[in-house]
């Protein structure tokens, strides 16, 4: 009997182990100090659900609200991004997750929808965007046909779709560069997490801090994975939040965030300057290695670990040299890795967790990963008729060439002249474009889609440029703040698994003066009426002198009447004749 119990227990444990393996949840926060005086905080939340339980709507960690939307819209793979700000590749190096978990400024959404025809896919895409719009409080429903593209080279589906599904998958991609990401998008995002921001690393996520970040990106990826072959598939949801916090700015107290001039005695001056005195100060470099603590940066300490994570997980990691002093609150166990720049912490349950990095003079820094490519894009030219786009792509590597796909999806009112597309390599015309996919715009129906596969040799800069014409919109098509301009979505650069987004652009179109259309309409109408009246009269009327005009005496009237009578009679006779001949 005890044996049996033992076995049963083992079975239950095993079963539980299997269940937890097929429907597990993990979360991790990576802190990486960046130069100058910034901190990258990468939050990663991941859970898997078996395909069967997902199909049967048996949701455990997978959020039900999202799951049902995906099922209803036949979406097999989904990627949603909310981003704000700009990644400073020069100082901060390569992007977190290789750029795979970020989008262009605003909202970006792409999904593989299973459908038999393009029309059906469009219908399901519409369903998907509208449903997600409600779920995330974002204007995703504005992703209409003009903002939707079907990228050919830039995005690849997960490897683990079954072959039957793969044949019917349609990739649809849409962006909303105008959308301002804010707290109302964070709240539904947190609600999808099992610990809902109450415990674990998600308790550090606070709208005030997140949206004060210099750069931030929230992402949701849903994709199938088959770790054990095609028979055992799971659906994986990964939610990440990456943000770069300015340490100095974050350390300001919330009730007094104004950066008032520091008191005189707190001013850090270069005392070696000959003119240094009580009222003259040459300020020292502000970009010094900062001391900070989690409470200062995030507003409060971490509220324990999420109880749904596995035992022995290390939810918090920090990327600093091992020589750097890092103090943590009691109960946390530190694990240093061999690379010498990473340590992770195993937390005690139900206990607040705090990290403190005191001031320390340390020349050593964690090495920065160099990005594969620097990309910058800007408008050229001026005026309201034409313009140009110039993308400067630099391969910093001294040894290796880089292959990538550059994708632009432009609104229809930006009419690209494809013949002006030029690629200059290090200032001279070069043959760097290997393949190109171009889908021209249709007015008010769809935008331009341009994908260019390029290869940049080592240590070279390619300037890709093209000209465009600005269309004139109908006056109802302008947004309320027409003079701000129109946001042009970021270009997407895909280098294998790594992706880079450029900044978005602001395109100013010829704008009517909306403040006084009334006056203008009235004035022009009056002028038109006067001019037309005069021209019309001059053309149609015959002018004779008053004395040469026909006299209107009785004789004239009589003659005139007679003449009219005669014509009527004549016509009458004619009609009679016609009747006779018939």
């Amino acid at each position: 009997m005890p044996e049996l119990i033992k076995y049963l227990l083992l079975l239950v444990c095993l079963g539980f182990g299997i269940v937890s393996a097929s429907s597990d949840y993990s979360e991790q926060l990576l802190l990486r100090p960046l130069h100058p005086s910034s901190l990258l905080a990468s939050f990663n939340f991941q859970s898997n659900a078996s395909w069967e339980s997902f199909e049967q709507q048996n949701f455990r960690y997978f959020p039900r609200s999202l799951g049902q939307i995906l099922q209803f819209a036949n979406t097999r793979e989904l990627h949603l991004r909310f981003s704000l700000g700009r990644w400073d590749a020069e100082n901060w190096g390569a992007r977190p997750w290789g750029g795979a978990r970020e989008g262009g400024t605003g909202v970006e959404l792409w999904a593989w929808v299973e459908a038999d025809t393009d029309e059906e896919a469009d219908g399901r895409w519409l369903t998907l965007t509208n449903a997600l719009s409600g779920l995330f409080c974002a204007s995703l429903n504005f992703i209409d046909s003009t903002r939707t593209t079907r990228p050919v080279m830039s995005f690849q589906p997960s490897n683990d779709h079954s072959n039957a599904t793969l044949a019917n998958l349609h990739l649809l991609h849409g962006t909303l560069p105008r959308e301002v990401v804010c707290t109302e998008n964070l709240t539904p995002f947190l609600k999808l997490l099992p610990c809902k921001g109450k415990a674990g690393i998600s308790s550090l996520l606070d709208g005030h801090k997140l949206f004060d970040a210099s750069w931030q990106s929230m992402s949701i990826d849903v994709r199938p994975i088959c770790p054990e072959g095609p028979g055992d598939c799971q659906i994986q949801i990964t939610q990440t939040i990456d943000m770069v916090l300015d340490i100095q700015r974050s350390k300001r107290p919330r009730d007094n965030p104004i950066p008032r001039p520091v008191p005189e005695h707190e001013l850090r001056c270069d005392t070696t300057k000959p003119y240094h005195s009580g009222d003259t100060c040459y300020p020292l470099d502000i970009a010094q290695d900062e001391n900070w603590s989690m409470t200062e940066i995030f507003g409060h300490a971490m509220k324990g670990s999420c109880p749904l994570t596995d035992e022995g997980a290390t939810p918090v990691c920090i990327n600093v040299p091992h020589a750097r002093n890092v103090f943590t609150s009691g109960g946390a166990v530190e694990h240093k890795d061999e690379s010498g720049f990473m340590r992770c912490f195993e937390l005690a349950a139900e206990q607040d967790f705090e990290i403190v990095l005191p001031s320390q003079d340390l020349p050593e820094r964690a090495p920065l990963e160099q990005p594969l490519l620097y990309a910058e894009r800007s408008f050229t030219g001026y005026g309201q008729e034409r313009g140009g786009v110039e993308a400067i792509l630099t391969n910093p590597s001294t040894t290796e060439a880089v292959d990538f796909v550059y994708m632009e999806s432009l609104p229809w009112f930006m009419k690209v002249y494809l013949h002006t597309l030029k690629a200059k390599i290090n200032g001279v015309d070069g043959d760097v474009i290997q393949e190109m996919y171009y889908r021209p715009a249709q007015d008010r129906k769809r935008g331009t889609q341009l994908e260019v596969r390029m290869r940049i040799p080592q240590n070279s800069t390619v300037v890709l440029s093209y000209d465009f014409e600005k269309a004139i919109l109908r006056y109802t098509e302008y947004p309320p703040d027409a003079n701000r301009g129109f946001d042009i979505a970021a270009a997407v650069i895909t280098i294998g698994n790594v992706s880079i987004r450029t900044t978005s652009l602001l395109l100013s179109l010829p704008t009517p003066d909306f403040s006084m259309p009334y006056n203008v309409i009235i004035l022009t109408s009056t002028v038109m009426a006067l001019a037309f009246g005069m021209v019309f009269n001059l053309l149609v009327r015959r002018f004779v002198g008053a004395d040469e005009a026909e006299q209107w005496d009785i004789r004239a009237i009589r003659l005139r009447l007679l003449a009219q009578l005669k014509t009527i009679l004549r016509r009458f006779k004619k009609e009679q004749k016609v009747a006779k001949t018939e």
């Binding site: 400073d88 003119y275 040459y282 050229t380 301009g485 652009l505 602001l506 009327r541």
Partner: protein, 620 residues
């Protein structure tokens, strides 16, 4: 309609034909009087903020306290750089900007004009908007040397201090670009051109770093050490283009309302706000607008639809650099508030006081009336050249007179009998008039080319030669025309008609772009309306030719040079510089609009019509 039909008859009424010269004179008189009325309270308006988003002076400014110590520190550093080479200065500035945590880039440029080379290196730093996306930017400019070639010592130090200060704030919605140019004339132009990728030559480097669409630019011109009394705002752009009035109003409102600093414009240091001072301010503004040259580093921004102004502290008072810094801070906070590009307020205005202006709707008629005077005369001369020469001077519409030849006019099934004079049109011999007018117009390219392609040292001499040639040329042209073509009175009328027609057309379209230039040229060319060949009256011709020569473009330029005690060579160099670098088109107007009209006027004056009795034919 009766009115119109009788109008056709009236068209030939000799009394009516006498009217246009008086009408055109009336236009000129009313045009000038109109301008003089503008400074009155009833015709000008108080300025107001049109764009609600700006909220000028609504924020508390914090640029004070220990930041003043930092300013003094930078002041010492900047002072130590005085007299150093451009590269040394930029090396040091780069260090300062980098220490503030900004992205720094440099741009070399080289321009050639009038045989001189203008070169240097711009340096600029970009403060990325903390949560922004490089879509919009505002620019703070401190030229190393201001337009008067003075060392902008406090200005540059202020830019450096503000760069550090602005970096601390997280509220910026737009990138802020701090630009330090080596000079105030070529450097800003090279930078703005390169920012929009429109640089004309490879000698101007493209910008290695860029941000988004420029929404505004503010220039600090603070070339002295001491405290100041008031703020002088310079707003004229190239070719008389102006920044949006809202930008000007914002600064005025912040400086005078929030900071209690007086604001002046057009170098009217003590403005009493009476009629005379207002008029003077307005006329100074018009003159500057008419000349169309750059009045500060901000001028180069305006053609790109980037609203920009220069702030110049002046006088001895109790306002310190920090007050100046706070004005900039508050202005930048206002610009930062902008949701849309500045578009609400006026782009065409005349300022007569920091708080009073007239908008285009009010002042435009004045230049238009002057321009219309030429058109009226042109039409009048066209009509006149076409009327048959009639012996009878009486009204021709009385049918009783048997002497009037009658004509049968058929139109459809209607028949009318009209006196021949009404329908008859004299054949116009167009070839010679067209050739003369077209020839003089093309001749205008000559001085335009010469004055823009002569080296600096030769400019004054060339100008002298041209002036002398200019006084004798019309006489010889006129004589040779008489000699070889023997023009008739009608041809002279047509020459004048075409010339005035072109002048009227050019000036009325110019008035909508550069009101002041159109008005000034119109005024100087006004006497040309009344010039006609005066054979057999040599004294009158001499007097008139003297008057015309005084109003010649060359003479007016010389008079201006003497009146403002300038150096002719420098003025011409500046003009060539404007043409080559700023894209200034004042010279085009002078040499290709005004000068040809003047030349034709002068040719007419010396003209002598061939005896026409044998040549004239009335054609039915």
């Amino acid at each position: 309609m009766a009115l119109l039909s009788s109008g056709v008859l009236l068209k030939r009424d000799p009394r009516l034909l006498k009217l246009p010269p008086y009408l055109s004179f009336l236009c000129i008189a009313v045009g000038i009087a109109w301008l003089l009325l503008l400074p009155l309270n009833d015709y000008s308006r108080r300025t107001y903020i049109s764009e609600n988003a700006l909220l000028p002076g609504q924020v508390h400014t914090y640029f004070a306290g220990s930041d003043q110590h930092v300013f003094r520190g930078f002041k010492h550093e900047v002072d130590a750089l005085e007299g150093k080479s451009n590269t040394e200065v930029n090396d040091k500035l780069e260090e300062f900007f980098k220490a503030a945590g900004l992205k720094v880039a440099r741009q070399k440029f080289e321009y050639k004009s009038a045989g001189e080379v203008y070169q240097g290196e711009n340096i600029y730093a970009i403060l990325h908007a903390p949560r922004g996306d490089a879509t919009e930017a505002i620019v703070l400019v401190g030229a190393w040397k201001n337009v008067e070639e003075e060392f902008n010592r406090s200005g540059v130090a202020l830019v450096l201090t503000l760069a550090r200060y602005f970096k601390r704030w997280s509220l910026w919605s737009k990138d802020i670009i701090f630009l330090v140019t080596p000079d105030s004339r070529a450097g800003p132009q090279a930078w703005v051109d390169a920012y929009h990728d429109t640089q004309s030559s490879p000698a101007i480097q493209p910008l290695p770093l860029k941000s988004g669409a420029l929404q505004g630019a503010v220039v600090i011109d603070y070339p002295f050490n001491h405290r100041f009394e008031s703020l002088h705002i310079v707003y004229d752009g190239i070719n008389g283009q102006l920044p949006n009035l809202d930008l000007f109003n914002t600064v005025v409102s912040i400086a005078s309302g929030q900071m209690g600093i007086g604001v002046t414009l057009q170098r009217m240091w003590n403005h009493k706000d009476d009629y005379k001072e207002r008029l003077q301010t307005m006329l100074r503004g018009m003159l500057k607008q008419g000349l169309g040259h750059a009045s500060g580093p901000h001028s180069s921004f305006i053609p790109y639809h980037v609203d920009a102004i220069t702030l110049q502290p002046y006088g001895e008072g109790w306002q310190d650099e920090m007050a100046m810094g706070r004005v900039i801070e508050s202005t930048f906070r206002s610009l930062n508030n902008l949701l849309e590009h500045l578009h609400q307020s006026f782009f065409f205005y005349l300022l007569m006081h920091s708080g009073r202006f007239v908008s285009i709707g009010t002042y435009l008629p004045s230049a238009m009336l002057v321009a219309i005077n030429f058109t009226i005369m042109a039409i009048y001369l066209w009509v006149k050249s076409g009327t048959p020469i009639s012996k009878s001077t009486k009204v021709a519409s009385t049918m009783g007179e048997k002497s009037t030849p009658l004509e049968l006019v058929k139109e459809g099934d209607a028949i009318a009998i009209l006196p021949e004079e009404i329908t008859g049109v004299r054949e116009r011999e167009l070839f010679l008039p067209l050739a003369v007018v077209a020839g003089t117009q093309f001749l205008g390219v000559l001085p335009l080319y010469i004055f823009n392609h002569t080296t600096h040292s030769m400019l004054s001499i060339v100008f002298g030669i041209f002036t002398i040639l200019n006084t004798v040329l019309p006489y010889f042209i006129s004589k040779s025309i008489i000699e070889y073509f023997g023009p008739t009175t009608q041809q002279y009328q047509l020459i004048k008609s075409f010339s005035l027609l072109l002048l009227g057309m050019f000036l009325s379209s110019l008035a909508t772009l550069n009101f002041s230039l159109a008005f000034l040229v119109g005024l100087f060319a006004a006497p040309l309306t009344y010039i006609q060949p005066l054979p057999g009256r040599p004294i009158l011709v001499t007097v008139l030719s003297l008057l015309i020569n005084v109003l010649a473009p060359t003479a007016v330029i010389l008079a201006g040079v003497f009146a403002w005690e300038l150096n002719l060579g420098e003025v011409l160099k500046e003009a060539a510089f404007g043409w080559d670098i700023w894209g200034m088109n004042t010279q085009v107007v002078v040499w290709c609009v005004w000068w040809p009209a003047w030349l034709v006027g002068n040719i007419l004056l010396y003209g002598k019509a061939r005896d026409e009795s044998s040549a004239t034919k009335a054609v039915k």
